[in-house]
Amino acid sequence: MASEKDLELLDQYVGNRLTAQDRAAFEKKLASDTSLQNEFNLQQRVVEKIREARIMELKTMFNSVPASALEPTGTSLVTQMSLGVAIVAVIGAGIYFYASNEDTVTDQSVTKQEEVATQLPQIVEPQEEETSAPESPATGGPESLETKSVVPPAENKKNDVEIPQASNDTKANEEAKGPAPLDVFDPSKETESPAATPETKTSESPKLSKSSIVVETDNSNKKYNFHYQFKNGKLHLYGTFEKNLYEIMEFFSGNKRTVFLYYKDSYYLLNEENETIKPLAPINDPSLLKKLKDYRGAR
């Protein structure tokens, strides 16, 4: 049986409170006393668990520090470089689109309507001088203020050219439209030009802007589950059209308008002739499909 003094020494031993000399002496005694060894085994486990419990407490304290408090005070070099690259890219793209669309004069314009367009900034009106660029991922986040301050206003305006103007041409065409016979616009006239370089290609590309057609979807009609109808100036789509997944494409040729629907990777010609409800039939003509895809891709 270990003496009271031995137990006290043992406590100091497991608590790392003995001097090197006392430690060595105690270890000598420990080696020769079985009873003391047994008590040592117990005390060592108990103290070890006390230490573990304390470590857990401290780690809990660390983990309760909010991540936001761990952010560095300054912007790292890598972040700054990434920002720089993003800014240059935005400015470059802005200049490119501005320059390529500036002198475009065509008698045709293509307008597009997307449900998602409602989430984008307002379509740029030509007379508008101050418009804000859409916030790209590169300019979002904590550094966005820096980015905005670097990009000159003029460049911001140019960026918006990517979503081109709802041009006066379009408005004029809308006013002039009438119950004209169906004359399907052939986009091949647009794409057949030998536009190899980006400059010439974009100079002849149609203008893209918001469509004037008001669309209403109806998924409650059991009889018409994939149909359309032009009525009272509106386009009614019958069926379970998933929101944000369809687009209306309008092609203007002189006073004539041809309307296409894009939905789930297929294109559909929309006949405006009368107000009857018509089924939606996908376009299969490969050449027309290619041209439509080209126009969609050009937005």
Partner: protein, 186 residues
Amino acid sequence: MVFRSSGMNETEIFERICKGDEKALELLYKKYYRMMTKLVITNSGTEDEARDVYQDALIVFWQKATSGNLVLTSKMSTYIYSICQNLWRKELDRKKRLSNEEKDTAVTLDTETSEREKIIAKCIDQLDGTCKKVLMYYYFEEMSMQDIADKLGFANTDTAKTKKYKCKKKLDDLVKAQYSEKDFLD
């Protein structure tokens, strides 16, 4: 939110840590988090591993500082960084060994020991808050009785000593009550 060190310089932080000031430890944790975890992340570690290594390193630093066994001859950050380096090196070695061999032998678990440890942990939980603190400060931080008395508001070191003695006895009794002497002293 941007971290600010509330105007405390390194020396002040270190002095407060030596006295067992947990707020100063938290401040230090925030201050060097990115710097230290980057070391692990840029050396094939994950964000979680980096955080674990940094926390372990800081606990080693804290334990040494509070026990009065640390005389800083370099900046605190340099010292903590070197602990992180050592810990991460060890962890990489351990992972390497594990991937090469010995998986089955390492997995062998002494369930009896594990059960006993659980019992001890439960007994620690049964202590009141002050007792837990006294024992933790004594056995983990290895604080002097004077520091324990100061930190917990005891009248003097004798009070701290008595408290520590009583708390330890209570814990021992709790543990021994749950397991016969034979269970533990085999």
